[in-house]
Amino acid sequence: MTYEPPVTDYDYIVENCTCAFCGCNCDDLDYLVKDNHVVAVRHACRLGASKIMEDMDQRLLVPMVRDENGELKEVDWDTALDKAAEYIANSIRPVFYGWSETSTECMKEGVALGEYIGAVLDNQATICHGPSLQAVQNAGYPIQTLGEVQNRADMIVYSGSNAMNSHPRHMARYAVFCRGYFRQRGRFDRTVVTMDPKFSDTAKCSDKWIGFEQNGDYGFYNAIRAVLRGKELYQDVISGIPKEDIYELAEEMKNAEFGVLFFGLGLTHTLSKQRNIDIAIKMVQDLNRYSKWGLTPMRGHFNVNGFNIFMAFECGFAFGVDYCRGYPRYMMGETNTIDLLVRKEPDCFMVIAADPGAHFPNGANQHLANIPVIQIDIHWGPSTELADVVLPGSFIGVECAGTSYRMDGVPIYMKKAIDKPETCRDDEWIVRELKERVMKLREEPNVAPKYVPNPNAL
């Protein structure tokens, strides 16, 4: 990397902007603005700065529709919206996927459209922390806000999470290096443990690295739980870790005053999936018999938690909500995007503020090649290569205000700093327009003739 002189040529600074990258939602960013462009960002990490200093080469600026040659053709908003609305109105199994990089205000329009037309609404949790949510539904959810961690925690465990790469300011701002009310010396008052098969960048700045073997997470946590409950370990080495180390770690965890377990996709993506999280939660619950422990999933997108929270208060389920019967249904492995695509069920796919082209396995994406795909996004990405209608949205937290929820559930109002490109529209507006156009094209399916009281609910 070469040295770069600091940017000094700017018109003004917008302070306390919220980063629209990961679940840390750092709300202390300063944007340096010149000619309605952010020319530099202060306080952000490499990821946040990179996102905010977006690549204008690939910025989607004009609505586009595929023509008969398979080439994207720029069109006016009316044409593009009508085409998209037609795809949605003519479908019988539409899936609206994404939402994690847009505001809850936009989701509100999305759920109205989804409920009206009987769509499946799902977000990125389905490919990241879905198993965590499933485990939460099995075992519980002892969490705390990040300020609690900052002020109280003297033991931090990262498990299957490489915070230094995926949440670079997490350690600095909330968990490890920062000074807290009861932890005045910051890093020196805390013990940091990283559990990861790899000697990751996070492990490199931890006090302890537990390099359990690949797919060994479940066995390892099981052993810790056994020790916590006073059992003896018979095997000398469990999941690649000597039993003495497990005894030592369990003792350390018991003696912490306030411990927090942060876990990431290292746990949800391996073979035992939700069972890994399940046992991690139970371990935390066991630890509370001795001291105070909590956990927090390291959510990847700045509003992936927001969608789960939003859907839970709108319809009672967090993600993978199927409205096709006129009431919400949710079944893991059944009403989730990957499973639907692998089974080749959807006949129309709307992706908003997400990139299945970049993040879905081949086996799921293959079906997107067979059906109409509507993309609402700000950049030309892998999904654009599969899209039939492209609707350019705007950048939440930079060009457009909106609400997001941090990984710990703290709501943050992300303010607007600059104007959006003239030809773009706000996500909220786009979805509302689609809703209104779909409502004109098609009568509401699956409506009960009258309210039938559910005896359970009375």
Partner: protein, 570 residues
């Protein structure tokens, strides 16, 4: 638009109207005493007409609720209902989705519901949910009892700064009044501990629960807030907590009520879900009902009001800012446990709970609630709640009404349905009092409205909001003590629910959906003190909160259509 509700039998305790056959008129959203000949006539001959219900304490919106829904899909599935042309789909039983919450309250004839616990840091979330619930007016009560700033000021007995802090935080969080939950206990939970009794201190804070309660009560009256402090005392749900409850009651002895808006109410302290705080004994083995002792004490202290938190024998979800208590429940039941600590402010816990008629403890709790209802003499000082969803969902209110109105029904349950502890450890089988419709209207409408200092609802006074409920029950034709099931059925779905003059429920069907409004208290006259306090705490805030100050307040964006109650604080 003008309307006239014709020939109903009106129960309006605030105006001392007890079952009179009369017309109720309203125009442009308000009750009026006469209308023109063009008024639309709604025939409600021989049906019960009451002001719309006011629920003084329920958990309907906010971060706790959402975690409950998120981690209990099994509960969401219990209440699914297909959408109609007017209504969105519904889900949930004990923790219904936001639309379902609004619809169900509306069907019960309610118009106002108080969200009982709002952590200021996540107040935006609470307001987002309030905006999603249709049909109701919803004030929210921010939590102060474990707030670090409050505890620091209380330690120094600095009432003036607490008052300024509260005034500022009501504006910041768009809250209605002071909620205190397990004072000092939820802070102790930050270290996995709890406080026991009102004289116990939070670790590191050198202040007792009682000092916090007294300081907040004084600040409350200094600001002339329309509601008194609203307290969930220490030691909830622990056998032997009666002394703590009584000491909490005594703590506010001698505190004078404020002026102005504070004069509407009589109390200086509202005790919530008193049922959970009336247990004698030392453990779950020898626990007995403390209702008699608590009620006796309560009856004597005329500066107190309460609601009950009546257990309804359902599978429900308990959720409270009393997080250590939830962990105790987890240790007892082993069901999936959720906890949520909030920096510098509060904590919360959630756990599913099954209240069973076969269970001795559930039976005891059920009986204690009813005992309190029957032993507290003045219906103006007690409100009907289930502490929704903690002791049961609010949709069970009609069933509780039927129990209160029928001794025969209660005796039948004691003898044939519930666990035998009811005879051995409670007085319930010996209590014969029965509520009448006037009493019911008091505990579900008039009393809560008065307790909250509302001067625009809870009565059918001309000039008040036209919030009216009509039930398909003919009081001259029914014997509530013998027809408990009919009473429950009659109150289950209102014939009409009218909110702000709009007919939301007609012939037991929701015909119209209306946006909710948030009610918040704007204290005037303290602006300079507020600024001073904010300036003082700013260095601390910047250092130890995980959000920027700019992101802390509830922006107007979240309360687009509020009802602001201006209060003269000086």
């Amino acid at each position: 638009m003008e309307y006239i509700l014709k020939n109903g039998i009106v129960y309006d305790p605030a105006n001392e109207i007890n079952g009179e056959k009369m017309d109720v008129m309203f125009k442009d959203g308000l009750i009026v005493d006469n209308v023109s000949a063009d008024a639309e006539v709604l025939d409600v001959t021989d049906k019960i007409v009451m002001p719309a219900g006011v629920d003084p304490h329920a958990h309907v919106a906010g971060p706790k609720l959402v975690v409950g829904r998120l981690y209990r899909p099994e509960d969401s599935r219990r209440g699914v209902t297909q959408k109609t042309k007017v209504l969105r789909s519904e889900s949930g039983f004990s923790i219904p989705s936001c639309p379902a919450t609004g619809y169900r309250y509306s069907r019960l004839g309610y118009g106002t519901v108080v969200e009982a616990a709002m952590p200021p840091l996540e107040a935006k979330h609470t307001h987002e949910e309030i905006a999603t619930i249709p049909q109701l007016d919803i004030p929210a009560m921010p939590l102060f009892g474990n707030n670090w700033f409050v505890m620091e000021y209380a330690k120094d007995n600095n009432i003036e700064d607490i008052a300024a802090f509260v005034a500022a935080w009501l504006k910041i969080s768009k809250g209605y009044g002071i909620k205190i939950v397990n004072p000092c206990g939820s802070e102790a939970w930050g270290w996995g501990m709890n406080v026991h009794g009102v004289n116990d201190k939070a670790p590191y804070f050198d202040v007792t629960s009682k000092e916090v309660i007294v300081a907040l009560a004084k600040a409350n009256e200094m600001l002339n807030l329309p509601h008194s402090i609203h307290i969930h005392p220490n030691d909830l749900g622990h056998p032997g907590n009666v002394p703590t409850t009584i000491e909490t009651m005594d703590a506010v002895k001698g505190i004078k009520k404020g002026k102005g808006a504070a004069e509407v109410r009589d109390q200086v302290m509202h005790l919530t879900h008193l049922q959970f705080h009336s247990y004698l004994g030392n453990s779950w083995k020898d626990v007995t009902s403390g209702a008699e002792e608590v009620a006796k004490h309560f009856n004597k202290a005329d500066n107190l009001t309460c609601d009950i938190g009546q257990v309804t024998f359902d599978e429900t979800t308990t959720m409270t800012a009393d997080a250590p208590m939830e962990y105790d429940l987890f240790k007892l039941s082993g069901l999936k446990w959720t906890n949520k600590d909030i920096e510098c402010e509060t904590a919360a816990g959630i756990i599913p709970c099954i209240y069973s008629k076969r269970s001795p403890v559930s039976t005891l709790q059920w009986a204690i609630g009813l005992e309190l209802f029957l032993l507290i003499e003045d219906p103006w000082r007690v409100c009907l709640t289930t502490d929704h969803p903690n002791a049961g969902p609010f949709t069970r209110y009609p069933r509780i009404i039927s129990w209160l109105m029928s001794n025969e029904k209660r005796q039948d349950m004691c003898d044939n349905e519930v666990h035998k502890w009811v005879h051995k450890r409670t007085l319930l089988p010996t209590l014969e009092r029965e509520y009448d419709f006037y009493d019911i209207a008091t505990i579900t409408r008039a009393a809560p409205a008065k307790i909250y200092g509302f001067t625009d609802r809870g009565a059918l006074t001309p000039g008040y909001r036209a919030d009216i409920a009509v039930y398909d029950i003919n009081p001259n034709d029914i014997d509530p003590s013998k027809q408990a099931d009919e009473i429950e059925k009659g109150f289950n779905v209102a014939d009409y629910t009218i909110k702000d003059g709009q007919i939301l429920v007609k012939d037991k069907e929701i015909v119209k959906v209306k946006e909710s409004q948030n009610i918040w208290v704007n204290v005037k006259g303290w602006e300079q003190n507020e600024q001073k306090v904010i300036d003082n705490i700013m260095p601390f805030f910047t250092q130890y909160y995980s959000v920027k100050w700019e992101n802390y307040p509830v922006h107007d964006h979240y309360v687009s259509n509020p009802i602001r109650v201006d209060v003269d604080g000086k």
